[in-house]
């Protein structure tokens, strides 16, 4: 019983008890433990980079990742949500960096040469690897802020074009600018967190109710035990009294016979 409870806590298994008291432990409709037979659960890296939980079957494995509950299911859900947000961030960063690089390349640096890349990133993890191009960091003169090859110190025409990128509707199919897009991502995170907090509170309350119900069946109620004890004590004392009276009666009868 305690093991099933722990498994339910950890991965959200469900147990079906037979008439003989044995439990069949189910993971998302698949029997993981049945009688004396158990199937192996394993973790593999999925094609999306997220962990996938597999249940061994007669031929190969069954993916039960989406059927998991409990702590692990919660963490998998969280990982999936975070992964979605990271994808959005990657798209945001790569779109922004590409646009800025295009504008930067259209300008001229202080040497009068056309600009190169302003930002670099690794396409596999744009948000994580996003940074200013090292050559620009090393030499500020390579910032292509000028709009003409004369590249006067006060020529900020291309800088203005770069600033204007902020207001360009580059995202969401041309419907959002950078600020709106990052706000939308931020809002998505907030919404997911808020929903998770609400879900957690609801599930917590449900879990507490179920715990009370379970304990009411399998637990020990001290008040009830005390009441029962008093009842049995009274019954025992009454029985003892009956025996005592009977003994006395027998004694009296024996005396009469004598």
């Amino acid at each position: 019983m305690a093991e099933v409870s722990t498994l339910a806590d950890d991965i959200g298994v469900k147990a079906v008890f037979g008439a003989d008291g044995t439990a069949t432990v189910m993971v998302g409709g698949h029997a993981a433990v049945s009688g004396t037979h158990a199937r192996t659960l394993s973790v593999e890296r999925g094609s999306d980079g997220l962990p996938a939980v597999k249940l061994a079957a007669d031929s190969g494995t069954i993916d039960v990742t989406n059927d998991l509950g409990g702590k692990l299911g919660g963490r998998m859900d969280a990982a999936s949500t975070v992964s979605g947000v990271l994808d959005d961030l990657d798209t945001f960063v790569s779109t922004f960096a590409d646009e800025m690089n295009g504008v930067h390349q259209a300008g001229y640096d202080r040497n009068g040469d056309p600009g190169g890349d302003l930002f670099t990133y690794d396409t596999s993890s744009a948000a994580q690897s996003f940074k200013v191009d090292p050559s620009v960091l090393d030499d500020g003169k390579l910032l292509a802020l000028a709009g003409a090859s004369t590249a006067y110190a006060g020529d900020g025409d291309n800088l203005q074009s770069m600033i204007d990128v902020e207001e360009s509707d580059l995202f969401d199919g041309g419907n959002r600018n950078g600020t709106e897009q990052i706000s939308a991502i931020y809002s998505t995170v907030g919404q997911a967190l808020s929903s998770a907090e609400t879900d957690s509170a609801v599930h917590q309350a449900q879990a507490e109710d179920l715990q009370v119900l379970r304990d009411s069946i399998s637990g020990v109620a001290l008040d009830q035990e005390a009441t029962d004890l008093m009842t049995w004590q009274a019954a025992y004392q009454a029985s003892a009294r009956v025996v005592s009276v009977a003994d006395e009666m027998l004694g009296e009868l024996m005396d009469l016979v004598r």
Partner: protein, 293 residues
């Protein structure tokens, strides 16, 4: 109707859960009361996050505008002072020209006065090369190098550097010196003519420069007026920017700041509930029928 048996374990668990929940509420209420902010993380107000971010972005932009404004103000103030100095120097040149054109002075005295005129010329070049933090005010966009050569040749660019000080307005951070000082009348050419005429000791030639010098004075006064106009626009933009800052701060405060009275009242209520929960938990330890036996 079936009754649910309340076990000792479930009673303690329930008490612990309630105490824990109220403890979490207490921590949250303390955070709000201490920080004065009702939105500390996105989940506190997901629907307002976009608006809050947008307001913060606008605030950041206004901060940048304010920095730009300060830069422009500094440049404009120096430009105004320099043009004032150039105007004074030209007035001196005008007086010198008028005096030396008269027959009161002889040729030798005019030749001597040429030194004074050359000094005025040099002073005007010096003033026209005014700098703020290494930036030449009258060099146009080429402000990292000298605006005028020592002979008065313009070495800057024929355009004006500007910075945005509001969504609609750009303020100058320098001027095209050739436009201000060599537009209608070339201030340096006029002064150079005066020096040459004085060096030649030629009274008629000196007299011929008087009108030109007067035109140069008018030109500089006009330039100074342009700078003054820019300063007025800058002050207007500053006022507008401050009004916007105030309004943005107000809107942001409505979305993110907690009401002090409300937050402290809530904190007090939750604190009371928490203490009550702790007391109930403590007193429930021996509260079963066994303790009465």
């Amino acid at each position: 109707m079936s009754l649910i048996r309340t076990t000792w374990n479930s009673r303690l668990t329930s008490l612990a859960n309630v105490t824990s929940r109220i403890g979490a509420q207490l921590a949250e209420a303390q955070e709000v009361a201490a920080s004065g902010a009702k939105v500390s993380r996105p989940s506190d107000a997901p629907s307002d996050v976009g608006r809050i971010q947008s307001l913060k972005a606008q605030q950041a932009r206004l901060d940048t505008y304010a920095d730009n404004q300060a830069t422009s103000d500094g440049m404009l103030a120096v430009a105004d002072l320099s043009l004032g100095g150039i105007s004074d120097a030209l007035a001196q040149a005008q007086e010198l020209a008028v005096a030396m054109a008269s027959e009161t002075y002889n040729d030798d005295q005019r030749v001597d006065a040429a030194t004074q005129a050359q000094a005025i010329f040099d002073q005007v070049v010096d003033l026209a090369n005014a700098q703020v933090a290494g930036r030449y005010v009258f060099a146009g966009r080429a402000y990292d190098s000298v605006a005028f050569e020592s002979d008065g040749t313009y070495a800057g660019s024929a355009d004006q550097p500007t910075v945005p000080v509001s969504d609609q307005l750009d303020a100058p951070t320098g001027y095209d010196g050739s436009d201000l000082l060599q537009g209608t009348t070339d201030v340096f050419a006029v002064l150079d003519s005066l020096v040459s005429a004085l060096e030649a000791g030629d009274a008629d030639a000196v007299a011929a420069t008087i009108d030109s010098v007067a035109s140069a004075v008018d030109q500089v006064i006009s330039a100074r007026s342009q700078v003054g106009n820019d300063m007025t626009l800058s002050i207007d933009a500053q006022d507008l920017s401050q009004s916007l800052q105030t309004e943005l701060a107000r809107q942001l405060s409505v979305l993110t700041d907690a009401d002090a009275v409300q937050s402290y009242t809530h904190l007090f209520d939750v604190q009371t509930a928490y203490e009550a929960a702790l007391q109930v938990t403590a007193s429930s330890k021996g509260s079963n029928l066994f303790s009465l036996m």
